[in-house]
């Protein structure tokens, strides 16, 4: 029976239009960020630009291992022919990527999803609140706004990590700290003895009261581990920042990236959201009724 199947099977030519086909990208740079995170610079073999918006993600494919959704951490305003992914080694794909070297190739699909509404932000104050690896998607937007500095008002960056050694993009963070036109504060939950740290020690919510928030024209942009959101959002409520002026980037296991596989659905009484299509960047007012969102 199987044989008769074989004879009647046809391979469709040129399934290259398949949304599951990957394009090759070469690793052209690699930098250790923390003990378990690395920054990879990639370039598409086709020579084309990735053409992503800040906040969008790609599916990173390593044949023989699998795929993982990763936010693009570089700004589309920089690196015209390459892009950067900041990756923590937490699973098969990311562990394998960490073992790879400059010159090696991976597969890329995307960019996918809805990023930050950069045009809506124009002319407003922005308050970035990043926890841990949450800095990766925010960095794309931070650098985007820095490169179009005159389109945005006050920029405030709050960045929290567990400990000083987990702070990423140190050179850029230093640069933000030095710039006169940015308010920047960093905090760590804990600082071991003998480690030099001149920032705050404590949870990230402690930094929020220090920010001068103009309620009429400030957008807060939050990204961090699931546990961080609740506390940060409570603190922003203290400040009475309207929920429609808060944006979140939510992590889910987007398997397909194109709204089909079902894994990244966030359900609520009204409707279901697809993190890979409607997100990963969501307006807080839109998702706050969704029990599974935060």
């Amino acid at each position: 029976m199987k044989e008769s199947n074989l004879t009647k099977e046809e391979n469709v030519e040129n399934p290259g239009t398949s949304p599951y086909s990957t394009q090759k990208a070469r690793i052209i740079g690699e930098r250790q960020m923390t003990t378990d995170s690395k920054l990879f610079t990639l370039e598409l073999q086709s020579g084309e630009r990735l053409n992503h918006d800040p906040g969008q993600f790609v599916e990173l494919s390593i044949p023989g291992v699998g795929e993982a959704p990763i936010s693009v951490t570089s700004s589309p305003t920089r690196r015209l022919d390459s892009f950067e992914l900041c990756v923590r080694a937490v699973g098969n794909v990311t562990n394998t990527l960490h073992e790879m070297n400059v010159g090696d190739s991976v597969g890329i699909r995307g960019p996918f999803g809805t990023g930050f509404p950069v045009e809506e932000f124009q002319g407003n104050d922005l308050l970035f609140i990043a926890g841990g690896l949450g800095i990766a998607p925010l960095r794309s937007l931070i650098n985007y706004t820095l490169d179009r500095r005159d389109e945005y008002n006050d920029l405030n960056i709050l960045y929290g990590c567990k400990r000083p050694c987990e702070q990423m993009f140190e050179d850029e963070v230093d640069h933000w700290a030095r710039r006169q036109d940015i308010y920047h504060e960093a905090t760590v939950d804990f600082c071991p003895d003998k480690v030099c740290w001149d920032g705050n020690i404590g949870v990230i919510t402690e930094l929020i009261p220090g920010v001068d928030i103009d309620l009429d024209n400030t957008y807060a942009i939050v990204c961090g581990p699931p546990v961080m959101y609740r506390f940060v959002l409570e603190e922003l409520d203290e400040k009475e920042l309207p929920h429609e002026q808060i944006y979140l980037s939510l992590e889910r296991r987007m398997k397909c990236g194109i709204g089909k596989c079902g894994h990244c659905q966030i359900n609520g009484a009204e409707e279901v959201l697809y993190a890979c299509q409607d997100g990963p960047v969501f307006n807080y007012e839109r998702v706050e009724g969704f029990e599974e969102a935060i």
Binding site: V65, N92, N95, T96, E99
Partner: protein, 273 residues
């Protein structure tokens, strides 16, 4: 360098190592990615220098425990191969019975000389186990998947869902619906022929709903039933499953007997939690 692999056996039938030996030409492919330094069923060589140790069989004596600890000390990665090592397996049937009677029944007059523990244990009762290959015997494809994953430094992908998933994908008629069985009729107890024999027993029963998948529902595909050889899933809904078995007319005692065939050790572990 190819990782060095060693096989060891404890209380068990060595059926899992036999499955590996039965890979035949694929065993040669396997040798492309690993070097086998200890494998009693295939080679005579012996070595204490290995990276990955596969241990088969339940742990049932002090000597077993010492030897297992030694293996753990030598190996970077320790894999429990087959149900006896992974979940206590069929040896743990005796765990719920009177040890003296068991010894007498098995060894008769020599029962005094037996040094076995009252309970057969899974390997992880003694040492840390890094990976588990379930099954009695193991599934060859899953074994290959695990080896291939370990060589690549990946976490093997072992199903967390029950056998029903694979059984449905294969479009089997559910064991409980065979021969016109209707689950909406309570106490549908009836005689079913024990597959592969002339014996008849009360049934139907199937442990698929609480047993970890990964076997492609082989036994049900072949017209028999699931005896649970791959052990319980992480969070089995045993109450619901027992209600199902009750609906089909199995007595409490019969259900316990079915559960004890492979789940003996896991059941005790769950009680302790």
């Amino acid at each position: 360098m190819k990782p060095k692999v060693a096989f060891f056996d404890f209380a068990g039938c060595e059926g899992d190592q036999l499955q590996v030996a039965n890979l035949e030409e694929r065993l040669l492919d396997l040798l492309e990615i690993v070097e086998i330094v200890n494998f009693r069923e295939v080679i005579s060589q012996k070595s204490d220098d290995y990276d990955i140790a596969f241990v088969e069989g339940s742990i049932a004596t002090d000597h077993d425990a010492e030897r297992l600890e030694e293996i753990r000390g030598n190996a970077d990665i320790l894999v429990a191969l087959g149900s006896c090592a992974a979940i206590g397996g069929i040896n743990s049937i005796r765990n719920s019975q009177d040890p003296e009677k068991v010894e007498e029944r098995v060894y008769g007059e020599d029962a005094d000389k037996v040094e076995a523990w009252d309970k057969a244990k899974a390997a992880d009762a003694i040492v840390d186990v890094d990976h588990y290959i379930y099954g009695c015997p193991i599934d060859k494809d899953e074994f290959i998947h695990v080896v291939e994953s370990l060589v690549q430094g990946k976490e093997p992908n072992i199903p967390t869902y029950p056998v029903c998933v694979e059984c449905k994908m294969n479009e089997n008629v559910c064991v409980f619906a065979r021969n016109g069985g209707d689950k909406s009729i309570s106490s549908a107890k009836r005689e079913v022929q024990v597959p592969g024999s002339q014996e008849v027993e009360q049934g139907p029963f199937c442990l698929g709903p609480v047993t970890r998948a990964g076997c492609d529902a082989k036994c049900i595909n072949e017209g028999t039933t699931c005896w649970g050889c791959r052990g319980l899933v992480d969070n089995p809904n045993q109450n619901a499953h027992k209600k199902v078995l009750d609906k089909y007319g199995l007595t409490v005692e019969e259900v316990l007997n079915k559960y004890n065939l492979y789940f003996g050790w896991q059941q005790e572990e769950r009680k302790d939690e």
